[in-house]
Amino acid sequence: MNDKNYNYFIVILFALLSSISCTRSARDFDKGSNIIGVDLDTIQYQPSIKDLFEKVEIIPLETKKESIIESSSGLKHQVYKDRHYILSTKQNKLFVFERKGSFVKTIEKIGNGPGEYRMIYDFEISRFDGKLHLMAPYGSILIYDSEGEKFIESFHLPDSIRAVHQFKILNEDIYVFNSDSENSDLYFYSKSKNAIVSSLSVMPNFLRVTPFKYARTPFYYYKDSLRYFMGYDGTVFNINPENFSLDKRYFLDFGKRNFILKDLPLNESVIYYYEYYKSIANKIATGFAIYFETDKYLISRYDLKNNINYLFYNKQNKKIMSVFKVKEDVQLGLSFIESDTLYYFVPVDFAHLYLNDKVVSVENFEKLQKLTSDSNLLMIKYVLK
């Protein structure tokens, strides 16, 4: 059997093994206005890190038995009052560190009593009242004081909604939930009415088990606006807090390299879509995993040529850069944003992919050299220009 046939055999075998199926038909979106044309043949690919960032720093998270974050996957992050709050969904635990990386505490409420949970998939410290919100995937929000010490109250979505996977706080009353497994994607819950006041089906259901979607969350904040993006083609919507509609905000138009939804076979297995994704991500731009937005930039992580690329669209001068590796011969890793600062968490053993002595200061690089495989995760801090 030659390599090609062997790979095909693997795909078929995986497809047979997996029993996950899907039912909904695909849906096309018209592209509307706010189109950003991306001509991959002419844009700059390998800028210097200095073209993008004022500085890059490393912040090792303190290593203690109780502060170890076991995996850099499945994390959520928020900076609040000069502290880093890092949720590990794998450990069902919220870690709190000072800005410089010293460990403060963990917030862990596993149990079956009031204010306790069995699993936690998302969190947010509300920008409206400073209260810590923890979200359990079976549809519960548990609310504590900002320190996470005192349980205040909780609410539960109607029993008809069996799973939610992310949430955001739209305003003082409305919470928006995203589900990867219910009939609708978005549920708008009114706390005062204790009811779902609106729901939307945005992404074709069958895409939810595929890599053609977001990483971690389909939401991001820009100032007071809440945005929602489509992982397969990169469309960004603004969520209207008045009528809970989605208003198209941006679309990245890659021309001949655009993802065409109708070309994607329906009702295949999760393994099939994974293999299919790998085969087409070589030729087209898809898998829009992350978006960030600042006054100056719209930044998106997407897949092209089987590499993780970051697209930087300068809103002011309309220039576009797409980065897999910078001139300094390291990759970018951007996962979370706080104002004009981006963060990435990486195990020390993988740090060399993202950092070298050309990227960080001598002091920072020496700090990195002193870390070992047993050290806690490393936080990389990128300050945008």
Binding site: I20, S73, P211, L334, F350
Partner: protein, 107 residues
């Protein structure tokens, strides 16, 4: 060598998938709570009563589904994700093996 390793792993995965797919295969009379033995298909099947909840309380098992959970680094993308649907089942070991296979594939 890589092919041999992959084949061995696939055999293991096949075995696990066979014993841990969305329908639970087990010995007659030893079905989990909320399921009943169906001798015709030689499987445990979910009872029709919608009030019966058979979800597992850990991070895999019933009410979980195998997902490719894209993350920022994608070191271990396959996970069991909560769906709350009692007829979904995800074997954690299966997800771990898939992650291992992807590592081999990438290398």
């Amino acid at each position: 060598m890589k092919k041999i390793l992959t084949t061995i792993l696939l055999s293991i995965i096949f075995f696990i998938a066979d014993s841990g797919s969305t329908k639970a295969q087990t010995l007659p009379g030893s079905c989990p709570e909320g399921m009943a033995w169906d001798p015709d298909i030689f499987f445990c099947v979910i009872l029709e009563d919608p009030a019966v909840i058979t979800c597992d309380s850990g991070t895999s098992g019933y009410c979980f589904e195998l997902r490719f959970d894209k993350d920022v680094n994608e070191y271990c993308p396959w996970i069991c994700k909560w769906t709350g649907k009692a007829n979904d089942y995800c074997n954690r070991l299966y997800a771990i093996l898939l992650n291992f296979c992807i590592s081999l594939d990438d290398n």
